[in-house]
Symmetry: C2
Subunit: 266 residues, 2 copies
């Protein structure tokens, strides 16, 4: 019906929150939303009264392969119908006054959604139309509001971007990646002993060439050199390269020295 | 030159990271990137060899008012030139092998960027072209790599979405919003004493109407009612409404009771 061919595999679909787009205007945005959902591991899409009807081939063109989400999307006449089988509903981007509800950050919302899903309850997140956002009637169906901490001087947030931030937080809430690691590929971080071997090699050559000939300053200079190399989380492979550099530079100096001597001899 | 009129105010521009788009292909994406940057409080944009030249009016059309970022964007021939005045450079989305570098999550990257900026050093983040991402030569200029934790089964991330996630984390890293709060507007959360007054009122009326007439079960029923009301973080205004509901329902019952008695009298 939309010329689609199944699209990409998008990973396992567990009990994950339903994204409910309320009166979305542009089908291209619905496609971009599906792409962002797939990025963050959200797979269930519901559309409430999409302005231009549904399905729309334009959505599949901007989904970048997240076709399965669009294929499975359902259309509903009202918010009430779209959320009827859910246990917990969050509403994003609402700026209504006279609403008494808990307000979560995007990160707080992700934690809430993870906790609700872990209890085998079904939850959903409402996103309003591109131009106006959710109105008071829509928000009334939500248990909680979500407000992203973003630059208050520039809050114009694209619909797919709004979904992206929440999908990213949803994924991150269950991710155990260390905030920092070292990509070492085939090699590994050098031990302090391996680094010591290199520093011994380097110091010997620096003694030999006269770089450390100022004896009173020598201990401080050796310390400074150590400080630099200890700081860099050097790998075993890099140490071998450094050994090679020192050996070759020293060899070049000796050969040059010999050459000069040879010339002097001549 | 591009028909722009200055655009929206986008807030104060401090020492914030430079976004470096390396060989961006579509000017529309550059505009969407500027919009995402403004959302997250990033203001400095540099373009390395943009495919279609620069400026391009199409970029201003998708920036949704983040014109100042585009107006101030600079164009550079090479990555080396674009990062020459920076002290710390991060590269996103690279999947190179044979690279030995620290790898940060988006959140780890935001913390790193905040820490570097706090030391009055200048930092930047490289984003690659839409189709291929950064190549090995680009990545060689970076101190660290950034890898977003996202669905490994669907990593096709739109350029503006990639910038959005980092901009969002940048802003959030300095944001103190509580993960959960209660939006109460003109009212406030009721005290336990105010709630007690209401429960006393309700219990009295339930005694009066006979709802609690089963004396052995009465303590348990009163407890259950309390459990419900204690759970809801009720506001002072809502308590007044609840008082009114109980009063009116009880009054209705009494009037109906009187009416029935009146009829019986007639």
């Amino acid at each position: 019906m939309t010329g689609r061919d199944g699209g990409a595999d998008i990973g396992p679909i567990g009990n994950s929150p339903v994204v409910v787009l309320v009166r979305p205007q542009l089908a291209e945005n619905v496609g971009s939303v599906a792409r962002a959902m797939a990025n963050g591991g959200l797979f269930h899409l519901r559309l409430v009264a999409p302005r231009d009807g549904w399905p729309q081939a334009r959505a599949w063109r901007t989904a970048s392969g997240a076709d399965r989400i669009l294929d499975a999307a359902t259309v509903h006449a009202t918010v009430a119908e779209a959320v009827a089988d859910l246990h917990r509903v969050l509403a994003t981007g609402a700026r209504q006054r006279h609403v008494i509800k808990p307000v979560l950050t995007a990160r707080g919302a992700a934690a809430e959604l993870r906790a609700v899903c872990a209890r085998d309850l079904r939850c959903g997140i409402l996103f309003g139309p591109e131009r106006a956002g959710l109105d008071n009637d829509d928000v009334a169906y939500a248990d909680m509001l979500v407000r992203y901490p973003l630059n208050p001087a520039f809050m114009s947030l694209n619909l797919a971007q709004a979904v992206m931030v929440l999908a990213y937080e949803w994924w991150t809430a269950a991710d155990a990646s260390p905030a920092r690691s070292l990509m070492t590929n085939e090699t590994r971080i050098a031990t302090k002993g391996e680094l010591e071997n290199f520093l011994t090699h380097l110091t010997a050559e620096l003694d030999s060439c006269g770089f450390l000939r100022n004896q009173p300053k020598r201990p401080g200079m050796v310390h400074n050199i150590r400080h630099f190399f200890e700081r860099g989380e050097v790998t075993e492979q890099e140490l071998r390269t450094l050994h090679g550099i020192v050996t070759e530079l020293a060899l070049g100096r000796r050969q040059r020295g010999r050459g000069e001597k040879d010339s002097a001899d001549a």
